[in-house]
């Protein structure tokens, strides 16, 4: 256990070094968030009755999504592991007296956490200063915020597990670009990255909510914006726990299978 904590701390500290990259990313996400909110506002103005959440809740959802993007997007998968698999350097990793899965899981989680920490504080402060319908609102109450925090941790655990499964698949395909693009495309859409789940047609939403992808960003962001509460919230949090356990188990299984017949490409 101690060695994994050490991995986490090392990678966390490393992530905090990339301040310039974080700033660049921040500017990007800020523009992105502003444009998304303006687009949703145009829909809201066209037909307010069809809008499934309030406009301030919508804005909060978008700002949190942008601020936490680094933590909750499959996209921020560790490129390093992928490169290692492609270049064959992964062989060195296999020589270490620790499980590849556990080590990389911890490292990935740490780099997500540190990257998000760097980005989210300035982003959230700025977003909170923007006036009412467009800015980030305070959470409805303390209890909601605690549920949000719990769900956020679970979401990070699930999304890292998804990322690890994608990485394990690239043991098969060598070139990571395609697998990555497909995984990111699917996960992004079903976690409400393009259109929040409440905007989905009712039947599609019900099915989507059961998928592992919606157990990521979807749940905490909707809890914060007050869209998700009561029994439905508890159900989706329980589902997050289920997916966290299941996906880590699948990842471990894949690791065990792939490593049995891994072929290192020369070099």
């Amino acid at each position: 256990m101690k060695k994994y904590i050490a991995f986490f701390r090392l990678r966390f500290a490393m992530g905090l070094q990339y301040r310039a990259a974080a700033l660049g990313g921040l500017v990007c996400q800020f523009f992105w968030g502003a444009m998304a909110i303006l687009a949703f506002k145009a829909f809201h103005d066209t037909d307010p009755s069809a809008f499934p959440m309030s406009l301030p809740a919508m804005s909060s959802y978008i700002w949190l999504q942008q601020a936490l993007l680094h933590l909750l997007s499959v996209m921020s998968m560790d490129g390093e592991l992928m490169d290692m698999i492609q270049s064959g350097n992964v062989a060195y990793e296999l020589c270490r007296p620790v499980g590849v899965y556990n080590m990389w899981y911890i490292k990935n989680l740490a780099s997500r956490a540190s990257g998000a920490l760097l980005r989210c504080i300035p982003a959230l402060i700025v977003a909170a200063l923007i006036p009412a319908p467009f800015g980030l609102m305070a959470p409805p109450d303390v209890i909601t915020f605690l549920w949000f925090a719990l769900s956020l941790v679970l979401a990070a655990v699930v999304v890292t597990a998804i990322g690890m499964i994608v990485a394990m698949i690239t043991f098969h395909t060598v070139s990571p670009r395609g697998v990555r693009l497909i995984a990111v495309g699917i996960a992004d859409f079903f976690s409400g990255g393009i259109v929040p789940l409440p905007f989905f047609p009712e039947a599609v939403r019900r099915v989507t909510e059961l998928l592992p992808f919606s157990a990521t960003a979807n749940v905490p962001l909707r809890i914060y914006s007050g869209d998700l509460h009561g029994g439905e919230m508890l159900f989706l949090i329980a589902l997050q726990v289920f997916w966290a356990v299941a996906l880590i188990a699948v990842g471990r299984l894949l690791e065990w299978k792939e490593l049995k017949n891994v072929v290192v490409q020369g070099g």
Partner: protein
């Protein structure tokens, strides 16, 4: 031109060496734009129109933008990896050869996987052309063609600018992505829905609106100003400042020494 075709053939052959990987990447690339389309579809299931634009009209708009963007991505993707060309000394080699540098960077990388996106753009455009209640006259059809060409040129110019920035920073700037990827994604809706301020920015600073919103109003018959159809050509002038930045960059260029 002949030389470019030769490069084209070489890139095509080398891509085809890894067929499975290629088709997977095409699928992935297609999915990224397809999910955006699904998003539009879901939104219009609920709202039926946005700021006076119908589903078909938005698809017409997004189809044009996506086609322009994917063409630019396919052929101007050399500029996307330009920062690494500076870092690893590839650009020094380019400067030694007796050909134009821009030509060589363009020929350095052709990203065929964008074909998935391009196809989607074509399908959406075709669907919108059939479904839109527009009286298709020759000037209107010509305008659509000009919009596609104009947006490819505009996005290519932005990629050129993105690459030129690497002369000064040695590393690509992530926020430049807002102007390429961001503009493509948010250009799915006619730019007027983002409000007056944004429309002004997109008219006079980076001329997205000249290839998108204004000619679109002419095509859809919301404006009688026939000269709107020529705006995409004016938007192509955006290449000039980008080219000047590039020239300044080449002029100041010092090798990184690797």
């Amino acid at each position: 031109m002949k030389l470019y075709l030769k490069y084209f053939a070489i890139h095509l052959k080398s891509t085809m060496q890894y067929k499975a990987s290629f088709f997977m990447t095409v699928t992935g690339s297609f999915l990224t734009s397809f999910t955006v389309f699904l998003g539009i579809f879901f939104m219009f299931q609920r709202f039926h129109s946005v700021a006076g634009f119908s589903y078909e009209e938005v698809l017409l708009c997004y189809g044009i933008m996506l086609m322009g963007f994917s063409v630019a991505q396919m052929f101007a993707s050399g500029f996307k990896v330009f920062d690494s060309m500076i870092a690893n000394g590839e650009f020094d080699r380019i400067l030694c050869r007796p050909r134009n540098e821009i030509f060589q960077v363009l020929a350095f990388r052709i990203d065929f996987v964008r074909i998935g996106m391009l196809l989607q753009g074509i399908v959406m455009l075709w669907y919108a052309l059939v479904k839109c209640p527009v009286d298709w006259t020759f000037p209107r059809a010509l305008t659509v063609a000009l919009m596609v060409i104009g947006s490819s040129v505009l996005f290519s110019a932005l990629f050129l600018l993105d690459g030129s920035v690497a002369f000064f920073t040695l590393q690509g700037l992530e926020f430049m992505n807002v102007f390429t990827y961001g503009a493509n994604e948010h250009g799915k809706y006619p730019l007027s829905i983002y409000g007056k301020g944004m429309l002004t920015f997109c008219t006079f600073v980076i001329p997205y609106a000249l290839v998108q919103y204004y000619p679109l109003t002419y095509v859809l018959g919301r404006s009688d100003r026939a000269w709107y159809m020529l705006l995409p050509i004016i938007a192509c002038l955006f290449v000039v400042p980008c080219w000047i930045v590039w020239r300044i960059g080449v002029h100041r260029y010092k090798s990184t020494g690797s």
